[in-house]
Amino acid sequence: MRKDLFLHNLKKARDNKVCYLMVFPFLLFFLAFTIIPVVASFFLSFTNYNMLESARFVGIENYIRMFLDDDVFIKALSNTIIFAVVTGPISYFACLIFAWLINELSPTVRAILTFVFYAPTMSGSLYVIWAFIFSGDSYGLLNSFLQTLGVVSEPVQWLTDTKTLVTCVMVVSVWASLGASFLSFIAGFQTIDTSVYEAAAIDGIRNRVEELVRITLPLMGPQLMFGAVMQIAGAFGAGGISQALCGYPTTDDAGTTLVLLISDLGTERYEMGYACAMSFVLFALMILVNNIIQTVIRKHAST
């Protein structure tokens, strides 16, 4: 029986040689730059690999070191989790709510607002303008504004004070996070068959919010799942904005995320084995969070 299935598949594979040829270029680069790095990081995480000498097996030493003996790692891990827990949901719901509100408007206004909300995602290097706004001297726009209003008497060191730095980075991150998920939600709302709304109204759905929660969202399962993946990737991959605004390292490592720490260890200090162990913790964390969220969405929506 199993042999039959195998032969059947073999024949199918042979009949579809062209398919494999067409997929081949993608698979080649996909393996080289996504799959192999992820798999290799797992194996290298048990070594002391440093790119200069050949790797030596060290067991779970790297993992012990990071959790028991590395305050910066613990700080970066908790920063990453806090950051993801705060900005992930905010950006996800911002994408959803803005897409929902925009969907009601006339096509022209909708197109303009789509552009406005998506614009920050496109302007990769415009973070620098936020540095002017949050600048720590009185020339900073926010400081001068607050001083004029009399809210603060001294300029606030927004980007160096550990109390304000993370909040600033979060604000800018949310600003720049209405990306592919936002576009897919807009498209999702537009493809919903409007007759379901009429039926819902007859069935006693009283207001728009109820309609959104009970009728629309369950129909948008696939978009909601896609959006979740994209926002998780963005939230856990945070670091670039912190580095652009506050530099690296930051005061008391307040702005250090895992991505920044890994990149520092890997490309500056060549502690590849250790950096790979951290990468692997990050991968595992992301897959775990993703699975939880996908399960929740699947329970409440038809996909």
Binding site: E211, Q223, V229, A233, G237
Partner: protein, 290 residues
């Protein structure tokens, strides 16, 4: 400015009260202003003459607009160690070549994954969907090892090759291609067309919205400086890196750095505005189905 509610489009049986739409209007207006604030301030700063940049308190508008910051940006770039055109050339060629290759590679793979039944197909696609999580910065360090081992470190290829297999690109194209009518492909097969012929004669013209969307997303990431982490030679780096060096040098150059920001954001904006319709059409199919 009044917002028109297009009733026939939303077709809703639930009537929104006048008060409700005023709240929506205010929410959208305030959020839109927040989104636009840095853009507005970048443009204002870039047009300020020196004495206005140093004026205290900083003004939220410009009194005597001037292009002098754009001129000094040109001068600064001329005085750089590497001629400025070199960075422009690097960025433009990286973006153009990379985008074309990514569209070809991902559409070529998306077609069989969407329309042919071959062993391994589900495994490949499921892996790609999972890998949507592992965007550039997350795999950067392990990928660095592969790039170094392949001898790509510090070469032009490092700007393009690591981005070539775009999971998001493949995902969007595959979902879009699934919507194509099977009979179209079947009848082409009966006429004796091979898969590759069907791909470029039928599938590609019909999935223009999808590959234009992939084009936009790719332009954003390549133009934004993807791959520069794998390069240390100054003459191989691209425009965003060069301009970030100008912006890194403090207050005196804040006008020039704002000008640099404005110049850099123009190309992706133009591409997005021109293709927005296609993007929304493609994203309608961007769902993870199971």
């Amino acid at each position: 400015m009044r917002i028109r509610l297009s009733k026939e489009k939303s077709g809703s049986g639930v009537i929104r009260s006048g008060g409700g739409s005023a709240v929506v209007f205010i929410i959208l207006l305030v959020s839109a202003l927040f989104m636009l604030l840095p853009f507005y301030y970048a443009i204002v700063q870039s047009l300020k003459p020196m004495q206005e940049i140093f004026a205290f308190p900083p003004k939220f508008y410009v009194r005597n607009p001037t292009l002098s910051n754009y001129k000094s940006l040109m001068q600064l770039t001329n005085s750089m160690w590497i001629p400025f055109w070199r960075y422009v050339f690097n960025s433009v060629s990286q973006t153009a070549i990379g985008t074309v290759l990514i569209i070809i590679i991902s559409s070529l793979a998306a077609f069989p994954l969407a329309k042919c039944d071959f062993p391994g197909r589900n495994l490949i696609f499921k892996t790609v969907v999972t890998s949507l999580l592992f965007v550039g910065p997350i795999t950067a360090v392990p990928a660095f090892i592969v790039i170094a081992k392949l001898g790509l470190y510090n070469t032009y290829l490092a700007l393009i090759v690591p981005s070539l297999a775009s999971s998001l690109g493949l995902f969007l194209m595959k979902n879009f291609m699934e919507q194509l009518n099977d009979s179209l492909i079947e009848s082409a097969k009966i006429d004796g067309a091979g898969l590759v012929t069907i791909y470029y004669r039928i599938v590609m013209p019909l999935t223009k919205p999808a590959w234009i969307t992939v084009m936009i997303l790719t332009i954003q990431s390549l133009w934004g400086g993807a791959g520069n982490g794998y390069i240390y030679d100054e003459q191989l780096k691209s425009l965003p890196v060069a301009l970030s060096q100008i912006t890194a040098s403090g207050m005196a150059r804040s006008g020039a750095s704002a000008a640099a920001g404005v110049v850099l954001m123009i190309p992706p904006f133009i591409f997005f505005v021109l293709s927005q319709r296609n993007v929304v059409q493609t994203m309608a199919n961007a769902g993870i189905k199971e």
